[in-house]
Amino acid sequence: MSQEAAYIFSPEQLQYKFHNEHPFNQHRLSITNDLLMKLGALSPETILPARKATIDELLLIHDEDYVQAVIGAAEGQSRSSYRTTFGIGTEDTPVFPHMHDAAAWLVGGTLAAVDYVFDNGYKHALNLGGGLHHGFRGKASGFCIYNDSSIAIEYIRKKYDARVLYVDTDAHHGDGVQWAFYNDPDVCTLSFHESGRFLFPGTGHVNERGHGDGYGYSFNIPFEAFTEDESWLVAYKAAMREVTEYFKPDIILTQNGADAHYYDPLTHLCGTINIFHEIPKLAHELAHEFCDGKWIAVGGGGYDIWRVVPRAWSLIWLEMSEQKEALKQSIPKVWLDNWQEEAPVQLPPEWYDPKGLYPMIPRKKEIEKKNERTLLKALKPIYDHQKKVKS
């Protein structure tokens, strides 16, 4: 196992829990940890702790009155402004006890990842509890209270003055992070998601390229609904490499929402586990090629917590810590036995999905064509720039 990679987790991160029926369920962290341990790819002694983000750290991004509202709501106060102004207490983002503490622990995990990489000699760090990319400066949105990635990026900018490439492969547009750095030329955001025409939050159009000094440092690849592996991966591989070469970041931060899979109940993409084999592989490669290895990965969405998330997220760690030989074995039987009773669905026995997971997509050709055009449009400024340099 490579000593270059830090796996971050603290039990406090499990307290980020709205209620039993809510789709955002950090139980997936326990299920994933267990899969990695049963594989022999992680042991309790090697897990590094997260920490609780301080108020000052939250204020790197969030407004003071918003943080106060979250603290107030967590203590049981209730005001009508909480829902309308701050987005807390909605059907998506209900109030729960200790919500401030729990959310601050998720943020602290991502901040710890930053410190492990910049101060403690690790090349890579993984905080699967993070990736809450919909959080806005002054408003909760889409299950996200505090935006750990935005805070971590601002923290990196302030403390280490490094230029950050943020890559978001969650099926939903990474709106919170994009808008937080929309004017900033030192932070480049690249989001791959199901088109806003079909899916929340509705943004992430190709034309959203940044503003002012930040113009040209925001990239969006919106996919058609029912996009499949091949089309998704063509765009991912091309855009990842082009944008990294163009921006030349000092560090790459990847958000690894696992909801682009066909099984995900909230989205309409038709990815299989294939794409989750490829996502961390290329991120890892580019980090070594351009950033002296500096790569932080966080979790994100992912609402099939049994068949998709544990495998998708284990794959990040296996890639990061160079333990992919573990994939030669099937999913450990001890893990399957451990969870099958609790799982309402049949757990997957293998690292790849079987063929014919879903029915034929009727508009397949049209979808591929449309995605191809979207990719070209998104990368046009880079291609134009390359032409100019050549001539």
């Binding site: 789709p23 059907e91 998506d92 919909h134 899916l199 929340f200 939050p201 509705g202 029912f226 879903y358």
Partner: protein
């Protein structure tokens, strides 16, 4: 869309008099984090405008002896005169056009000959984004209803029961069936499943989100 410049302009404006040295003007813009500084006379009439970018571009290098000379000049020597302005009752999209056509990123607003406000590209962008609802995180919900009165309010009531905000609504006649209407909502929520369940229970035909056949 008819929002007036008056509705979005900034009214507390930082200004300079014509004799302010360039160095002070730069400091003033830096302190207030603004990019443009209108130059006015005692009557608050607009004489000119300077931008931090123009000034920095025009300034000789710090190592050049002319640098000191430049930053001590009064702004009236370097300002742009014949300023293009907007009027308070101009429509926002007119001003957007003016800025694009003249390649400028700020318009002072003039009322009865004096400076009344200022709008910048950023203000315009925020306004346009707000008008189209694009900055509000929303999901698309598309429902087919019988072409009868009261349908919109019934569906809206179900959405309200879930305490979900409606950002925008579009109603149109179904292309395929003229006894039907299509309602397209943008609603402020990410997980629409509880709402969809209620709508199905009320026998509404949901067109989007749709699922692939057999999706488990």
């Amino acid at each position: 869309m008819s929002v007036n410049v008056r509705d979005i302009m900034k009214k507390d404006i930082i200004v300079a008099q014509r004799n302010m040295p360039v160095s002070e003007a730069l400091d003033l813009m830096k302190t207030h984090k603004i990019r443009h500084l209108p130059i006015v006379n005692k009557q608050n009439e607009i004489l000119g405008i300077v931008s931090d970018r123009d000034l920095r571009d025009a300034a000789p290098s710090i190592f050049d002896e002319k640098h000191k000379e430049f930053i001590n000049l009064p702004v009236s020597k370097v300002m742009i005169e014949n300023v293009i302005t907007a009027l308070p009752l101009d429509f926002v999209e007119e001003s957007a056009n003016t800025m694009t056509e003249n390649q400028i990123s700020c318009l002072p607003v003039e009322e009865d000959g004096v400076l009344a406000g200022i709008i910048t590209e950023t203000d315009l962008l925020h306004t346009l984004v707000r008008l189209t609802g694009a900055a509000m995180p929303t999901s698309r919900l598309e429902i087919e209803v019988p072409n009868e009165s009261g349908q919109l309010s019934e569906v809206s009531n179900i959405i309200k029961d879930h305490q979900i905000n409606i950002q925008s609504v579009l109603v149109y006649q179904s292309f395929s069936d003229n006894t039907k209407k299509i309602l397209v909502f943008r609603v402020q929520c990410m997980d629409m499943r509880p709402l969809l369940k209620s709508l199905k229970e009320a026998n509404y035909k949901i067109i989007w989100p749709t699922e692939l056949e057999m999706k488990p």
